[in-house]
Amino acid sequence: MRKIVIDPITRLEGHGKILIYLDEEGRLRDAVLQVPELRGFEAFCRGRRGEEMPQITERICGVCPEAHHLASAKALDAAFHAEVPKAARLQRELFYNAYIFSDHLLHLVFLGGPDLLLPEDVGKAERNVLGVLQRFPELGRQVVAGRAQAQRILELIGGKAIHPVFALPGGVAQPLSEEARATLITAAESLVALGKTMIVVFHEEILPRPEFQALLLAEEAWLPTHYMGLVDEGLAPNFYDGQVRAVSAQGEEIFRLPGAEALSRIGEHWEPWTYVKFPYLVDFGWQGFRAGPDSGIYRVGPLARLNVAERMATPLAQEEYERFLDFFGGKPVHATFAYHWARLIEMVQAAESVLRLAQEPELTGTEVRGKLGQPGEGVGVVEAARGTLFHHYVLNPQGLVERANLIVATTHNAPGIGLSVKHMAAALVEKGRLDEALLNRVEMAFRAYDPCLACATHVWPGRTPVAVEIYDAQGKLLHRLEN
Amino acid sequence: MPETRARIGVFVCHCGKNIAGTVDVAKVAEQAARIPGVVYATHYEYMCSDPGQALLKRAIREHRLTGVVVAACSPTMHEDTFRKAAEEAGLNPYLVEIANIREQVSWVHSGPAATEKAVRVTRTMVAKVQGNRALRPAELGVVRRALVVGGGIAGIQAALDIANAGFDVILVERSPSIGGHMAQLSETFPTLDCSQCILTPKMVEVARHPRIRILAYSEVEEVSGFVGNYRVRIRKKPTFVDPSKCNLCGECARVCPVRVPNEFDRGLSTRTAIYIPFPQAIPSTYTLDVQNCLGILPLRCGKCAEVCEAKAIDFDMHEEILEEEVGAIVLATGYELYPKEAMAEYGYGTVPDVIDGLEFERLLSASGPTRGEIRRPSDGKVPKEVVFIQCSGSRDPEHHKPYCSKICCMYTAKHALLYRHAVPDGQAYVFYIDIRAGGKDYEEFVNRAMQEERILYIRGKVAKVFREGDKVVVWGVDTLTGKRVEVRADLVVLAQAVVPSPGTAELARKLRVACGSEGFLREAHPKLRPLEALTAGVFLAGAAQGPKDIPESVAQASGAAAKVIALLSAPKLAHAPEVAEVNEELCSGCGICAPQCPYGAISVDEVAHVNEILCEGCGTCVAACPSGAMTFRNVEDEQVLRMVRAALEVADVGV
């Protein structure tokens, strides 16, 4: 047997590694994505105070703590039978859109940016944030400034930008002042401006590039799965709230349900060789690692959201969405690299939403806590930047956590990422070509998901360094490639 | 690090056979000698003897010891002895510690275990001494003047006693005259002396005393400083009458057009806006009550000034703030009666012929509104059936005050008896739960009221009092017969609970003196320090501390005065240096420490400060301090942790 290990560097920090097994004839036997780390939040959340969950679970992921913070708060709203007052809801939603903006921006420029903005032949020493900043100094300046504005919004409402503290069952910690609103509006305006800039950059610098178009249409990066995401009443994507809609690989609605009920439609499969679990739609059951209309495997995240939605919620985003659909000729779009474009569209919607919410008169309302009932069970769901995020708690009468289950965005995508990797690997093996460019494609394939193997992996910021080692059956190193 | 340079000496005492009979003292010394930092260890038959002390001194000098542990008897026995000896040899006494291997080892254990424990105990104390610092006691001078707050009988007595011992006294009284409630009373139990007759001479004595300065119509505004050195700000309200000119002719009052309820008569009569509270008032002068006067601003009336021949009335008089320094303070702010308006079931104070005990005193008093005739407020009739209700508002944790007001049993008996004297054909009823007559001649007095005056005592509480025509109906019960009773009375007298006088809580706060939950000033210790407040240099007298009758108030006042005299007589105040201390580099001023201190020794601004003189060294604040900024001299955390480790060390203890 031969084995290819794609291990982000030293296999300890990658928190996600890819193992490819070949038979003696060099045919692909299997390829898996392994998450070699476990922190076990579900276990030690037990016995903790319910209201602490937004602050504890956000430590699952420092890249998207905002998502955990609010998924958790929403689960608590439900567990305490609380109605969130308008002012608190607006605070949360505004905060949340600012987060989506900031996170997507981060990926587009700092993470995916080097792949998208730099020529393919650029040296690996330059293929990073610094490279992008050097080539596009003005864009870099705008992005740094824009992100600072978004962080300012997060800090103003959340208390802290990374690991915010403001959400509580039934509402938020305290009311916002009118002075705060003024700051928010100014910041929001600059987010919208940056969104527009990014659209221009995308259409002028990225999309016209043939190699990018080839990627978008590459067969091995075309994965027909089901999709899941939150939509509002008008079937536009909503990051903070709404119903969970699942759409099949053929584009038909599988279900549209409130979070708690949707959760019951998701099963979890585990394998002993990884610390991440594999969710699937129970309507189809776990059919193993394969895509297609009969499989239970589905994907979440920007592309999935655009596939489950029928329109965007804001005008600029809608314009770009239409261009996107034109390009692919309709839905569902299965191109894994379309995640990048989808991310751009969402980022614009988020910016526009922040501005709209900042102008809502009730944002500064002083009633920020709903009445709490007896604690019980609750499910909270939001769309994290990387996809649907479920928090599910059972609280005891004292309001302590009895049970917690979390399905994080990248977990939903774990089977999909595994498959993308497998397809890429198959292509790699078939072509028998083990050069650096091809290797980078493997990497780009899973980077498109912006995988924050949240509870486990960390691939931010920038590229995930990959080494490929090919051994023979005796374990002798045959070939080693690094990007 | 002190311990690296430490040169500790260990002295193990045999105490004859007391220790050596059980503990292998040689072994203890031998083990001690092995402890790093111990440069000298020995054992001796009687360390406390002269030769023993000489041995200690010699060793300190010869071995240049920086710390000493004497393993001997309880520190309560000879800690002082050895510390003094060390001091004579030039070693700071606070570098000497005792390891108690007698009371807590040799006398209570036996066999090798005793020696092992002795070794551990000694080792533990060596660990402590290694962390000790040289300390010096703090010293401070004393301002030889006292402040007495409250001019009732307790305050008067305390002021006189202190002044007679040769110290200056400032006596502050809130109302225009001293005398307090005692001046309002008719006769006093159990002797039936005329209250004013025994009080007036004392008031005059105060007025004439060269060492007493009376500040009437004044209140304590602010107190700062600490024992021996208090600074007091006193607000003196203007009386608009110059006492040195006023000759008490009374013309001013005669022309004054204003009539307001007379406080001294508890509203049963009226007074003018310029008035003298009662004829014997001290200071002996009229006071113009600016709240009710028509004429001060704008000048509309001014009739009194016109008729005053002595030109004593001065409308330009202003409030004064006096600043005084005193060494000690006596609080004698007295009591008030619980308002009858709080007694829902007894008519909420709305029935005019339901009155309280002090009102009845005024009715009984020869100088009162009725000249001593008993006439009820509503219509001036002489009441023929009078009901006295004891425990009105007292002993009622559910609705009113949980405690016994202590004086009501006696004054009710007195009231009933005096009523019978005044209205021989009247009937008095007393509703009671228990009779508490524990005082000299008290029981006899109550018996006299029952037996000779045929006052009917009914054991049972009254449920409800209400007005029915010109009668006051009382629903009660006689629990002894098991029958409900109804009395249609002419007058009802409520023995209202005794409560602290208004303003007591505020004054207590200014002085950082604790109040109990019922608002009475709290003594430092209920049994052993009943005369002192927890704040050093503040003493308590009279009913401000709890319900008290006259003899008890006077006794406590004299006791407090004696404490003050002792304090003011000391040449210097010395204070043990083993107290709490703030590391200002670490203190964030969170203020958690301050309320821990029962002595008010901690103040907090940017950081906390410990007043070394006030701190008694309990260390509660240190344990409460979350950041570790508060420390305790010679009981630092690091020291204790080293002691703990020394106590538990597994290493062979050699037995």
């Binding site: - | 054991r459 509480k461 019960v477």
Partner: protein
């Protein structure tokens, strides 16, 4: 002398006392026998024992109080309970005695039914004095 009431540790700690305390949720020893409950009770004249005496007998552990009429006369008007200076809910003690009686099969009260009695009176009475 043959005493009417023999006091002993056993009596004072009798299950009866504990049962009354449990059922009523009251500590009968909080009562200091001031009689305010009795003074408040407008039905005391129809009772054989005053309310405070009922409490006293419970304090003494005298199970004979079970034979008393007083608890059955009590109208549960709660005047005693709101006025008690010690916060003892005397009405609950009365209820406890009624309950104990009813559970032992005592029904010492005769219902005097007349046609004009409204439902509210009937249900109220039956809930208090019938099992």
């Amino acid at each position: 002398m043959a005493a009417e009431l023999r006091l002993s540790r056993e009596n004072l700690n009798a299950p009866f006392v504990r049962k009354v305390e449990e059922l009523s949720g009251q500590n009968v020893f909080a009562c200091y026998q001031c009689g305010k409950c009795s003074a408040s009770c407008l039905f005391a004249e129809h009772m054989d024992l005053l309310p405070n005496q009922v409490v006293r007998l419970v304090q003494l552990g005298d199970e004979g109080v079970m034979g008393a009429r007083a608890p059955w006369v009590c109208a549960a008007c709660l005047a005693c309970s709101v006025r008690c200076p010690r916060g003892v809910d005397v009405a609950r003690i009365m209820e406890a005695l009624r309950q104990l009686g009813l559970r032992r099969g005592l029904t010492p009260v005769e219902l005097r039914l007349t046609p004009d009695l409204p439902q509210i009176a009937l249900v109220g009475a039956m809930r208090k004095v019938t099992p």
